[in-house]
Each structure stands twice: as C-alpha cells, then as structure tokens.
C-alpha cells in the first residue's frame, strides 16, 4: 500500500537533515539565552523573554516573511552574505534557519525549566570553592541542565519536522532541494490522485516523530540524578527573600 517516489525519499532525507541541523544550531543559542534569563542580573530581562517567545505566538508565515526580507538579496544580511557568495534564500540553509527560529522558544523554555530547578546555592558553593563564573557554568549548570537540553532537542527536532509556513516562504517548495515532508504532503494533497502518497508520507512523519520522542525519553532515563537534584528546589525563593539568617 505504501509507495514512495524518488522525490519522496529526497523529502524524507531533507527533512531529517534540516531538523537535525536546526535543533543542533539552536541548542547552544537556547542554552545561552536560558542562562541569561535564569541566572543573570540583566536589566531588560522581560523584554528579552518576550522577544525569545515571539516566534511561538506569531504566525509562522510572518516569521518566514520577515526572514525573507532580512535574508533576501535586498535584505541587509542577505546582501552582506551575497558579497561572500553565500546565498541563503531558497536553499536548504533557509529551511534550517526558519526551523531553528521557530524552534527557539521551545528550546529556551525547556532548558529554562530545567535551570530553574537548579538550587542557586550550588552555584554559590562552587564559587566559594574557587570556580570562576564560567567554570561554574561549565561544571555545574551545564551538567545539571543536560536532561532539559535533551528535552529541548527533541521538542525542537519534532517542531522542525512539522515546520511549514516559514519554510515555504523563505525556502520555497522546490522538490529535491527545499521540499521537506510537510511541503511534499501539501503538494500531493493538491494533486488529483495523490491521496495515497500523502497518506504514506503522513505515516512516515508520525513514525519519525514518535521515534524521536521515545529516544529522548530513553536518554532522559539514563540521567537518574535528574530527579534527585530537586532536594534544594524552593530555596531560590527563600534566597531572594531573606537577607539574613
């Protein structure tokens, strides 16, 4: 019953590639932003928070269009890149960037939730034991954020697999080059007699997403200590509140 055209395999491969690249790209950015939002004493924290979350509430088409303006030949970044001979718009790179931007709020949220569980006293303990702030970041915050980073990765990956609106605007729908699974499904659904193929691709994306979720669940279980570090939670509020004793 399942039958795939060569273009379908290409879409599948491209989707996997784009989703992997996008979630890996957004991981360090998400980690840095979450760290800023949780631990820094930045003045414009609320503004930054709003900005990070914007792609979550905006229609993806809007994000895609803004990206097109920014990265197109007339856009300032696109123009700059064009001078170095790099074209972004209507290539698979554009699909990666669109997916990354759409997945960013999910990544930041996941990591942030994890970081907020880290007892700030642990960071103080590490500082008094001789670790500079970046040392503390690498040896305390990073390892304790690993489970939430895995959760963020799987969320961003799954979101990238389903990305449609922003991708179609900034990367187009070129079979074999920028046509990911959702775009291919969209094409089939507009073609007479394409229902079976559309359905086959739907099944594939369901299986793919499900496998990713299972894998991340498995990875989370490996970090048994992820549950034990809650011992100090709640003291964050206490630390902020009480100046003494």
């Amino acid at each position: 019953m399942l039958e795939f055209a060569p273009a379908d395999y290409q879409a599948l491969w491209l989707s996997a590639r784009v989703a992997t690249a996008a979630s890996l790209l957004v991981l360090p950015v998400g980690f840095a932003l979450a760290w800023l939002l949780v631990f820094s004493r930045l003045p414009g924290k609320a503004l930054l928070d709003g900005l990070v979350n914007l792609p979550l509430v905006l229609p993806p088409v809007v994000v895609g269009y803004l990206l097109l303006l920014l990265l197109g030949r007339q856009g300032w970044l696109g123009g700059l890149l064009a001078r170095f001979g790099i074209q972004v718009v209507f290539t698979w790179r554009a699909a990666v960037i669109a997916s990354a931007l759409i997945g960013l709020p999910l990544m930041v949220r996941a990591i942030r939730l994890g970081m907020e569980q880290i007892d700030p006293h642990l960071l103080q303990a590490s500082r008094t034991l001789g670790a500079a702030w970046y040392d503390t970041l690498l040896t305390v915050v990073l390892p304790l954020s690993l489970p939430s980073m895995i959760a963020g990765l799987s969320l961003a990956f799954a979101r990238s697999l389903g990305e449609f609106g922003a991708t179609i605007i900034v990367a187009g729908n070129i079979p074999g080059i920028t046509q990911t699974i959702p775009l291919a499904i969209y094409d089939y659904s507009n073609t007479p007699g394409g229902e079976a193929r559309a359905l086959a691709l739907c099944l594939v994306s369901i299986v793919l997403s499900y496998v990713v979720l299972l894998l991340s669940e498995l990875a989370l279980r490996r970090f048994g200590w992820g549950t034990s570090r809650r011992q100090g939670s709640g003291s964050r509020a206490a630390l902020r509140k009480s100046p003494s004793s």
Partner: protein, 351 residues
C-alpha cells in the same frame, strides 16, 4: 586569623551594619535568626555586595568600596559550609570532595584527600553518589570539601541546624576533631549557645542586623543560666579513669569524679547541669550521691530569683544554681567553704 570588617548594606527594610576587628582561630557569630549572621557570611564570601565598606583578611584586602576593590568569591580563599550541604548532585562523593581541591593552587593545598576522608570517616562513601547519603553524612562531606580547598578562613554557617538532635550529637565530635586537627581558622555561626561553647571561645554578637560587640562564650552562658531549663550546663574535661566497683572514677584536675559506667571510660568532655549540684554548709554523712567535693565560693551571680554559685574545687571551676532562700540559709559569701554533692548519674558525655 586577623579579620577587619566595616560594612554597611541596606536590603529592603533590613539594615545591616558591622564594624569590628577580630583576631583568633575559633570565633563564633551569635544571634537570633534574622539578626544578620548569614548576611555577614555572604558579604565575607563575596556572594553579596555591600553598599559601602571594606574587608581585610590577614592583611589582604578582599573588598574596599572606596578604592573600588572587589575580589570575586573564587579569589578570596574564604570557604563556606552552608546550613544545607549543597553537594553537587551530578558528582560522586569523591568528585565533590575534589571540586575545590582541584581549583586550589598546588602551593596553597594543605591536606590530601585520604587524610581528610579518614578524619571525617568518609572512606566507605567515596565512590557513592550523593543522593543516597544521610543528613549527617552530607554535612561531613560538605565540611571535607571545604577543608580540602584549604581556605584562609572557613565559615560554618549553622552547619548543624538542619540536623535533628541525635545527629547533631554524632557530628559535633567529628567537627571538633577535624577543625582542631587541620588548624584552619574558622567563624562558626549558630544560634545555639551549646554548639558555640563546644566549638568556639569568643563570639561576635549580632542583633537586628547590627554588630553588638565581642563576648566571651562562657560569660554569656553564665549570664543566661536562669533562662535555660537546666540552669547552666557545666562542661567538664575529664581525664583518665579507673573502675571503682560498678562505677568509673575520672581524673578531674587534682580530684576524682565518680561517673556512671554507661558514659564509657575514655577521657572526654562531660556535661553537668548546675541544678544537679547540691550544696551543704557542713560535711554531710552517709550519702546516696557518689561525689562529695569541698569547694570555695569564688563568685555569686544573681539572676531572676536564682543565684549562680561559681565554685572553686581545688582549682577547677564549677557552677551551681540555688534559689535565693537557700543561699541565705547557707550563708553564701565570696570565699565561704561549702560541700558540693553530685550524683554519679548526673554526668552526661558530650565528646
């Protein structure tokens, strides 16, 4: 250790101010909760910025707002053992212990891991994760971790207050032994006078965010004797012992004290409530109590209807409390001779 502090900080409604200059190895910081003790800890460790002030430790300036000097926590060499151990949950006990050690310059390191682990009885725990440690074990690991970083000053911020009473008694001997043995000067913060007496000899008093002066721990304990249910708790350092029938006779200065066998036979520190000491004007005969000491009254300290009688028993000090009427009947005066009677079961081993 020589510590010079002059700090001011406003935190909402709470105003903190302290100015003192203290020299010593075992200093306490004493005050009720909310008195600013932990604020001082955070300021000394560099975890909190003062509005104004300076901190000089052993001639090294850690902070001077006027000169724009602020050493970050990692460069102060001020170690902290917090109320809750705050062990790193992703590291094993061994790696927790080595966290500070690895970040200490080799020429600053004083103690090797095996020695500290042995002193605090941590050897069997080294390869474990920290999630499965008991409260007392966690505190011991936290203490060892701080000691291994060889700080110039160690701050113990109510390290026992989160433990229940039984555990406290178990961990105090470790604490005393380790702190004395490794000779790291420390500030001990607590609101329990008993802990203070066991671990420090002088203390800085804090009240409502303000420094109230330096006091002798024993002095404060005597002043407070009427407020405590047991009056004053004498701490007696007893020496070698020998068996006397079913009891144990411990050397105490030039005399001997008879103590119940269940308190063990090793030399150590014993506790004796001032209310458990009976005073007689003349030599009593045929007693049920096993200790009869001849003593001179060194000092009378009246407090709230009771009178604290500081006794001199052949050179050793002992405090008894009696009610006013009894004091009048005994005709107690400075220099008068009395007989002190103590039951063998009144002693309790502390260490």
């Amino acid at each position: 250790m020589q510590l010079e502090v002059d700090l001011k900080l406003q935190l909402g409604d709470f105003a903190f101010s302290a100015a003192f200059d203290v020299t010593g190895r075992q200093i306490g910081i004493f005050g009720p909760s909310g008195s600013g003790k932990s604020t001082l800890v955070n300021l000394l460790a560099g975890l909190l910025h003062p509005d104004r002030g300076r901190i000089v430790l052993n001639g090294r300036c850690l902070q001077d707002t006027d000169a724009g000097i602020f050493l970050p926590p990692e460069r102060r060499r001020v170690g902290v053992v917090f109320q809750h151990a705050h062990l790193f949950p992703h590291l094993s006990v061994r790696n927790n212990l080595l966290y500070g050690y690895r970040r200490t310059r080799p020429w600053h390191r004083k103690l090797p891991l095996p020695e500290v682990a042995r002193a605090l009885d941590l050897e069997p725990l080294l390869e474990r994760g920290v999630a499965c440690l008991s409260g007392g074990e966690r505190q011991r690991v936290a203490l060892a971790r701080a000691l291994l970083a060889a700080p110039e000053l160690l701050i113990l911020d109510e390290p026992l207050s989160a433990l229940d009473h039984g555990l406290k008694e178990q961990i105090i001997p470790f604490l005393r032994k380790a702190l004395r043995r490794f000779e790291i000067p420390y500030l001990y913060i607590a609101h329990s006078l008993n802990e203070m007496r066991l671990l420090t000899n002088r203390m800085l008093l804090f009240k409502k965010g303000t420094f109230h002066g330096l006091a002798d721990v024993e002095q404060v304990a005597r002043e407070r004797m009427s407020r405590c249910d047991f009056g004053y708790l004498n701490h007696l350092q007893l020496g070698e012992s020998r068996e006397v029938g079913d009891l144990q006779a411990f050397r105490w200065g030039r005399t001997e004290l008879i103590v119940s066998r269940r308190e063990g036979s090793e030399p150590g520190l014993f506790e004796l409530a001032s209310k458990d000491i009976l005073l007689f004007k003349r030599h009593p005969e045929a007693l049920s109590a096993r200790n009869l000491l001849e003593a001179t009254v060194a000092e009378l300290v009246p407090c709230d209807g009771m009178i604290g009688v500081v006794l001199d028993c052949a050179g050793e000090g002992l405090v008894a409390t009696v009610v006013k009427e009894a004091a009048a009947e005994l005709e107690l005066r400075q220099g008068s001779r009395v007989f002190a009677v103590i039951k063998a079961v009144a002693f309790r081993r502390l260490l």
